[in-house]
């Protein structure tokens, strides 16, 4: 539908299944050690990621595809103003298709147990928006966090004068 975000949920790829199966068969035939099996699993995981993206139908020439994910991966709600674009189907990405060069999307991503994140996606070209999530307990690690001054320990005693600028005025 023109003018509206078209959503598509990425499906696990057959490519992944094939790759994983092949890896397992090869591993058993060769009698590789368990460590080798772990390597294969890691490779299979890479294949999963690649296959996931490849499986999403290519955007039309006049459209772009935006992949939205969180780090760490979490089920998160993605809103564009008053419109709910969808929920990130972890471990996959939420895919949004928009008309090419139709202006940016100001998004708010909310995941349970994390601070909401306001971010932006662009429509110049296909892109991936990987948003880092921060739990409230770690907000002091974010830029802009500031510690409030300690309450006045002297109770009713008047505060000392505000530190005066050290620079003489003309």
């Amino acid at each position: 539908m023109r003018g509206l975000a078209k959503l598509a949920v990425i499906r696990k790829g057959r490519l992944f299944a094939a790759a994983a199966a092949s890896a397992l068969v090869l591993a058993s035939l060769a009698g590789w050690a368990a460590s080798k099996g772990k390597q294969a699993a890691a490779k299979a995981k890479e294949a999963e990621s690649a296959a996931t993206e490849e499986e999403v139908p290519a955007a039309r020439p006049d459209s772009v595809r935006i992949l939205i994910q969180t780090v760490p991966p979490r089920k998160a709600q993605v809103k564009w103003g008053g419109k709910l674009l969808g929920v990130i189907p972890v471990p996959r990405a939420l895919v949004v298709e928009r008309p090419r060069d139709s202006g940016p999307l100001d998004l708010v991503i909310r995941a349970a147990g994390f601070l909401p994140v306001h971010t932006r996606a662009y429509t110049f070209t296909d892109s991936r928006v990987a948003v880092k999530l921060t739990p409230p307990s770690e907000k002091s690690t974010l830029f802009g966090y500031r510690e409030e001054p300690a309450p006045n320990p002297d109770g009713g005693v008047p505060e000392p004068p505000t530190p005066s600028p050290s620079i003489p005025s003309p």
Partner: protein, 700 residues
């Protein structure tokens, strides 16, 4: 107030923008087509095919010739025997005509799609937004503009397209509400004094009392009128004058309201109470000023009142001439705008003949010439032009004119340089411990000079007011805001890179409050990162185009970038205000910055680097929400080879403090958790400290 810290992309740009090695390459675009001073303009090789008149759009169309629509992109309108006809544009250009782009997809040179040496088109991603803004189809983010909305962005460097102007002309010609406006009442006053809404009742009471007092005196003195009273009792003359002035202002205010309403300047959602200079009124005045490119604060001052007292079509014609001016400037590739003229007239240079030659105001001269040739120098002429050309013509309309020959010093590669005089400089904090502001008067303001070296002379081509840095709020590492002196560096620099649609990467010292704004997003108001400030865009801290000042690296060392730029700015009032300061950069109105850099790029050897993609992302915390800045590009870059010399003069240091303060200074009235932290020991921290030139080896 815009926060235009210049520390910006210093680090980020060092690697990718600063030091592109390799042999100089010729400009990727041909120099502007202008007449050779030696050759008189011949008749076009393909004579204009004048056409049979076609019916005018309305019966009131003046007697202009009526051509058929432009036929193809290869053709341009030319005036022949007073009639419009068509000519092959390229042939006309070869014959000495200048081709002026009248199409609605015109942008200034800096936003035009350039070509790489291999012929690949290098698109500027801001071009589409620029065009959408000029055509009233997109908003500043590149999203669709609501139907009926107007952008009015001339003050911000984006003139309306001719298609938009056409609509404006035709609508105003049909508009009937203007007939009810008493223009005489508007002309009666030069300005209308601002009365704050909460003081209006008191002021009206004073006026009423004054009226009663004067009326009693008039009767007592048996005067026929108040003027008569002032003559009979001169002691009351001042009161009579004050009363008449206030009365005239009130009458004019009524007409101002009618005029603004008639032009649709009052925005929905902002209430306005009749006779009150409230927010609704202020925004309507601002919109009117933006529509008419009036550089004034949002009050009813002289230029605004002049425009309000002019008939709408007269204002439209002035707008038409401004738009034409930018098209002519772009077509001819000139920059001389008369800004160097002093009380004794234009400065002179010694020509080839050995005789003094006065520097011409080419911007005005060529614009006027084009307007006259095309029959567009009058309001009637421009209205007729728009009537005989339907909107569709402006999709690809071009015109061919014979412009006066350019001065002898014009060449594809000109020896240009920039000098910035900081004027009078104060290092003192302008506030005392209680936050009371102390005046720091300046008689000589910062100025920007563009010079040309020609035949052993230094010719000043343009001189504009600009800004230097001053005391600004900055966020320190403890999360608190302090004052910090953000000065403008002095000494020799160069501009190696010019960036069109530049992106300002807000340094961590940027106050968080300036990085967030409210925005309507698909039917809901939400807080968003303030990308207006970051760009690309006309509201960006770097404006629509920026030249990056660096100290050229030598002996294989990289350029040193202290974050100072000469750039366009939407904060035009800061440029012309007596108390306007930047964060160290040298601001110019966007339209002048566009002209300047378009001129430089077209008259110097340069290389098109194109879009400087990047994947910048940074998060920050505000009120328990995380905001993420995402910037996909630094802008569209051009590289000057060799770089353009810049010299920043120290100016005159006022007051007793002769060197800038390099530490944070607490803001009055704020409780801090401790003493100010040290300024960051980084390029970003150093930026704008007003440091002199670095050592000659290019090291800071």
């Amino acid at each position: 107030m815009k926060s235009t810290i210049c520390a910006c992309a210093a680090l980020a740009l060092l690697g990718s923008l600063g030091c592109h090695a390799g042999p100089p390459t010729p400009p990727s675009t041909a120099p502007p087509r202008t007449l050779s001073p030696a050759s008189p303009p011949p008749v076009p090789t393909s004579p204009p095919a004048t056409t049979a008149p076609r019916p005018a759009a309305t019966a009131s169309t003046p007697s202009a010739a009526a051509p058929e629509p432009s036929r193809s992109e290869s053709q341009a309108i030319v005036i022949h025997d007073g009639k419009e006809g068509f000519v092959d544009a390229e042939a006309a250009a070869r014959s000495g005509y200048t081709i002026i782009d009248f199409s609605d997809d015109w942008t200034p040179f800096i936003f035009a799609a350039q070509k790489a040496p291999d012929g690949t088109v290098m698109n500027n991603r801001y071009r589409r937004v620029f065009l959408g803004l000029a055509n009233d189809t997109l908003d500043e983010d590149g999203g669709p503009l609501p139907p009926g909305e107007k952008n009015f962005l001339e003050l911000y460097g984006i003139p309306p397209s001719f298609g938009v102007l056409r609509e404006r002309f035709l609508a105003n010609e049909q508009q009937t509400c203007h007939a009810s406006i008493n223009l005489e009442a508007l002309e009666e006053v030069e300005t209308i004094a601002y009365v704050a809404p909460e003081k209006l009742k008191t002021e009206d009471g004073k006026t009423a009392r004054l009226r009663r007092e004067l009326e009693e005196a008039r009767q007592k003195n048996k005067a026929a009128s108040l003027a008569d009273l002032a003559q009979k009792d001169p002691s009351l003359a001042t009161k009579v004058k004050a009363y008449e002035h206030r009365t005239a202002e009130k009458a004019a205010m009524t007409e101002v309201e009618k005029r603004l309403a008639c032009e649709g300047m009052f925005k929905k959602g902002l209430r306005h109470a009749t006779g009150v200079y409230d927010d609704g009124m202020r925004m309507a005045v601002r919109r009117f000023q933006q529509k008419n490119m009036i550089y004034e604060a949002n009050y009813l001052r002289s230029k605004t009142m002049d425009a309000l007292a002019r008939p709408p079509l007269a204002n439209d014609h002035l707008a038409f001439m401004r738009v034409l001016r930018e098209r002519v400037v772009a077509a001819a590739g000139v920059v001389e705008d008369g800004s160097v003229e002093g009380k004794s007239g234009a400065p002179t240079y010694t020509g080839r003949s050995g005789k003094p030659v006065a520097l011409r105001n080419l911007v005005d001269e060529l614009t006027q010439s084009a307007a006259e040739q095309l029959g567009l120098a009058t309001q009637e002429g421009s209205l007729a032009f728009f009537k005989r050309h339907p909107a569709a013509d402006f999709h690809r309309l071009r015109v061919a004119v014979r412009l006066p020959a350019l001065p002898e010093y014009y060449a594809p590669d000109m020896d240009l340089s920039i000098v910035i005089d900081r004027g009078e400089v104060w290092y003192h904090l302008p506030w005392d411990a209680k936050g009371v502001r102390h005046a720091q008067p300046r008689k000589r303001y910062p100025s920007f000079h563009l010079y040309l070296k020609y035949n052993g002379q230094r010719i000043l081509l343009a001189r504009w007011r600009t800004t230097i840095g001053g005391w600004r709020a900055e966020q320190a590492s403890d999360g608190y805001e302090y004052f910090r002196y953000k000065g403008s560096d002095i000494g020799s620099r160069v501009i190696r890179n010019v960036v069109a649609g530049p992106v300002w990467i807000a340094p961590e010292s940027t106050p968080i409050r300036s990085l967030i704004k409210m925005k309507g997003v698909r039917g809901a108001w939400q807080r968003v990162v303030n990308y207006d400030e970051l760009g690309p865009g006309y509201l960006s801290a770097y404006g629509l185009v920026a030249g990056y000042f660096v100290q050229a690296g030598r002996n294989g060392k990289a350029d040193w970038d202290n974050g100072i730029r000469a750039h366009g700015s939407s904060d035009y009032l800061s440029i012309y205000s007596s108390e306007g300061y930047s964060h160290g950069c040298h601001r110019l109105p966007n339209h002048l910055a566009i002209r300047l850099y378009s001129f430089i790029l077209r008259h110097r050897t340069m290389r098109v680097l194109g879009d400087q993609g990047m994947g910048f992302a940074r998060q920050f915390l505000a009120n328990d929400d995380v905001f993420e800045i995402r910037l996909p590009s630094r802008g569209y870059s051009y590289q000057l080879e060799p770089p353009l010399p810049v010299d920043v003069l120290e100016g005159e240091i006022k007051g007793t403090l002769k060197t800038p303060v390099l530490t944070y200074v607490p803001k009055p009235g704020i409780k801090y958790p401790g003493p100010p932290p040290p300024v960051r020991a980084s390029d970003e921290g150093r930026a704008g400290a007003g440091s002199p030139a670095a050592k000659s080896d290019g090291e800071p």
